[in-house]
Amino acid sequence: MTSLQNKVTELFENGTINLLIGFKEAIHKLPVPCFIDNVSQVEQLIFTPSCKGNLSVYLHKTEVKQAKKVGILANTATLRAIVQLVSENQLGDIEKTVITLNTNGELVVFATMDELEAYVQANFPELSEEDKKLLDQLNAMSRTERWQYWTEQFSACVKCYACRAVCPMCYCSSCTVEGNQPQWIKVSSETTGNLEWHTMRAMHLGGRCINCGECGRICPVGIPVHMLTVKMNQDIEAEFGAKTGFSVKNGYALNSFKPGDKEQFIK
Amino acid sequence: MEPKNQYIPYKMRIANIIEEAPLVQTYRLEFVDEKDAAQFSFKAGQFAEYGVFGEGESTFCIASSPTREGYLECTFRSSGRVTKALANCELNDIIGLRGPFGNTFPIEEWYGKNIVFITGGIGLPPLRCLIWNLLDQREKFGDITIYYGARTVNDLVYKEELEEWKNRSDVNLFLTVDPGGETPDWKGLVGFVPTILEQNPPKSENSVAIIAGPPILIKMGMPILGKNGFENNNIYTTLENRMKCGVGKCGHCTVGKTYVCKDGPVFTYDEVLNMPPEY
């Protein structure tokens, strides 16, 4: 048994958790999420750098909330998501045990939220090289070029809403796109409506997105949708000095204000 | 001739509007195009897609009897986007209609039998079609018994027709409202429909029962009938799931392998028992 499997077995045996959200290797060799509710299943657990998924999404599932004492394998993005969710009062009804791998590949189990927060703050990531490159490219474009770029991307969107589904911050029990009185976003997939959908998604995540990049990574048509919130987070940090997923006490930037917020465009 | 494009609606003019209950209305519809009227025929149990152009379509039964020719009637509660738009229509407005869709009640097989109707709330319209269809050939059937209830007295639909059925000697009507829904001058029964049914069980010999209403009434009512000696294939129901196309393509109404729109909406209790409980 690996040290992870030993640790999880221990957590089950001393009653700290009764459900563990983790990864296992599927038949096609990719890590898939797994939900372990007893010691006998611990053997399938894996936790490697290829486990990129953000499992904190599952913390909103009814079945998980019912389990009460939940353990979760968390990569750094997941940790930030948990910090942000706690700051938005979303994880009140479960006792969570968070397990991560530190930079030396050692297992860390956080005893308190403070410990977790301190770890996150000490290991706060820079934007990935890839995203930085794309962001620079986009910023260097003229406005009309950017318009062309994004409308072309959005024309391919099929409105499968996978970007919403994998987002740990999209936890509303009923989404704006699901209402039809009024119909804010068209049901059919067509560029105008798609653009509105992605604008709305980004705006609703403004100051809350923790930059895990899952939405862009999993988009079946390969739209880099995460760039919208990456850009917004940059703005928010520059304008208001707020970082998302950084502190459990912060709330989020668009939920608060300072009388001295600066802008140059209001006449 | 090419087969008809099943997604193109007939145009229907709203010829009459009756307010039945709070938010519930009955529309009488007439074909705008006489050719359509000549082509169109339906049988009791079938439903249609009623559409407000620009808003969408909504599914409900045809509430008038096929024995009353020249028009169609539908009764609906305004609750969603389409039904609200429909409720905002005025006399002589034109709406779309696609149909008729689905299977029918096997009326010919019921000749000579006693018929029991059990329904609640807005579940009466699909049976009203059938009830009038039977009453218009009254001599072919035995006893006709109707159990009908609504949340409150005000929520009962077809109030005038209920009055008429109550006064007919050849119809046995149990009219009830849910506890708390009665008014001081209410003379009918008080209690949920399944309770009333249990207290006043219909006789099961040579009888057929038809049950329609919200899923909970169907799920509770059918076993009660079974306990009272009705054979499973003598208990009929009409299901209604979310539907979009009406012709077995869009997939919304499936219960297991069954498409409620084309294999139903009329099912026997036997058939329902063989389905997953996804209705």
Binding site: R143, T144, T191, G206, F257, K267 | -
Partner: protein, 152 residues
């Protein structure tokens, strides 16, 4: 035919609407291109409303409310300001022409400022021409190709 811009103004009830009212009662002359939509507060002006206005034919938009510190509800406009800062930058990042949205503070006493703002915005939009960029986005590529084939 000369192009007459359609301008939609989203304004708060307490300041800008009253300001516009004042412009009216003072008989100040200004462009008639604007349709005013009144809100309880700038904090209530959702960004989706702006998108929908553009989608449904607006060529330009004015968003306006109480000056900072003058909000009837104390802080609605501060919240709104943060959102506008972010929203405007996001639109620009997507290549949306943000010059078509004018943000402003107009108080109940500033009837003249309102009239000037409308005139100025109308003139600017008139110069820019009709806003077709957003509306002409069409259905899927497949269908576009079909349409092209047919029109050839």
């Amino acid at each position: 035919m000369d192009f007459e811009p359609k301008i939609v103004a989203f304004v708060c009830n307490w300041c800008t609407y009253a300001g516009a009212d004042l412009a009216g009662t003072s008989r100040t002359k200004y462009a008639t291109n604007v349709s005013i939509i009144r809100f309880p507060c700038t904090g209530r002006i959702d960004f989706m409303l702006l998108m929908k206005a553009f989608e449904n034919g607006a060529d330009g938009i004015i968003v306006s409310g109480c000056h900072p510190n003058d909000c009837h509800y104390t802080s609605g406009n501060f919240h709104a300001r943060r959102r506008w800062i972010v929203f405007r930058s996001l639109l620009d990042f997507m290549g949306f022409d943000t010059d078509r949205i004018t943000f402003s503070w107009v108080s109940a006493a500033e009837g003249t400022k309102w009239a000037g703002l409308v005139d100025e915005t109308t003139e600017k939009i008139r110069e820019k021409g009709p806003f077709t960029e957003f509306k002409k986005l069409d259905y899927s590529i497949l269908e576009k190709i079909e349409n092209d084939v047919v029109t050839e």
